[in-house]
């Protein structure tokens, strides 16, 4: 597993660039990651989604899929595509410092 410098500190990532250590993330780092993912500004709405993902992960050891974010987190699917345009599931999990979701749905 490579280590890379993000926001001035060494961060463990996988070959694709997703963070591998849940504990290395904090909200400041999330802001830097958002820039890399092409999300220029993190609004309250963004943060609600990111905090849901962070809270959902530890028990399941798996990142919530888009559907889970919508159905369990109660977020509007259309809005998720607006908040994290293009590849929403990848972008939100990256910004939240989690692996990309594995689930098919």
């Amino acid at each position: 597993m490579p280590t890379t410098m993000i926001g001035g500190r060494p961060i463990d990532v996988n070959d694709e660039g997703f963070l591998t250590d849940y504990a290395q993330w904090d909200e400041d780092l999330g802001k830097v990651l958002a820039g890399y993912a092409g999300v220029d500004e993190l609004t309250d709405e963004h943060w609600k989604v990111i905090r849901f993902l962070r809270a959902d992960f530890p028990a399941r050891k798996e990142t919530a899929t888009l559907r889970r974010v919508a159905s369990v987190g109660g977020f509007d699917m259309k809005n998720l595509f607006v908040l994290f345009p293009g590849k929403p599931a990848k972008k939100m999990s990256y910004i939240a410092g989690l692996p990309k979701p594995k689930g098919c749905v």
């Binding site: 060494p10 070959d15 694709e16 888009l66 889970r68 259309k78 990309k100 098919c104």
Partner: protein, 200 residues
């Protein structure tokens, strides 16, 4: 440790990421032949859903949903029995039959023989359908209607096949709301220009 951060591919240009200078030769080639590099056109996928069984309803829906999540322009064309997926009176009652499926086996007991004739007995299709629905439920796979709702909310486009529409004697009111239009074969050919077409 690497000097440039390793960043996943999010599709578009990574505006804020510190840019590593591309080797000049590579850049010149990319500029000279943008079409050949394959980056000029955004990806587009069209799924043809042609089957109306419960089991065969899912491949197109799941792949279309995944394509949308990857930022791919996605269309589904419902034709022949696949039209049942977007017909109000049938879409919630798709069935899974073991008849004619020579690959049929119990998911957890693949070696147990299941005679085809068994599938013809009254009530067996109802049983296999119920079993499949329970299995899908356990895996948290949404119903066909819910999958379509998600696909539409994610920006996917649903199209009905004109011939199937006519053959089934349907009117617009019989269709699931998310269907944008009932289109002809010619329309479909136009629609699928430049797309990866996947027949299910």
């Amino acid at each position: 440790m690497t000097d440039n951060p390793i960043i996943p591919d999010f599709g578009g240009p990574k505006a804020d990421a510190p840019k590593a200078d591309k080797p000049k030769a590579a850049k010149a080639v990319a500029e000279a032949a943008p079409a050949a590099s394959g980056e000029a056109k955004p990806r587009k996928m069209v799924f043809i859903a042609s089957k109306g069984n419960l089991d065969m309803a899912y491949p197109a829906l799941i792949m279309a949903n995944a394509a949308l999540g990857e930022g791919v322009e996605t269309h589904i064309f419902f034709t022949f029995w696949g039209f049942d997926l977007v017909t109000e009176r049938t879409m919630d009652h798709l069935k899974f039959s073991m008849l004619g499926n020579t690959a049929m086996h119990l998911p957890q007991v693949p070696k147990m023989p299941i005679p085809q004739l068994l599938g013809a007995l009254p009530g067996v299709t109802a049983g296999t359908t119920l079993y499949m629905k329970k299995t899908l439920d356990k895996l948290e796979i949404p119903s066909v209607r819910e999958m379509l709702d998600i696909i539409v909310a994610s920006g996917g486009h649903l199209w009905g096949c004109k011939l199937s529409f006519d053959m089934n004697g349907l009117s617009e009111d019989d269709l699931y709301d998310g269907v944008e239009a009932v289109i002809s074969a010619t329309d479909f050919i136009e629609l699928s220009e430049g797309a990866q077409v996947i027949f299910v």
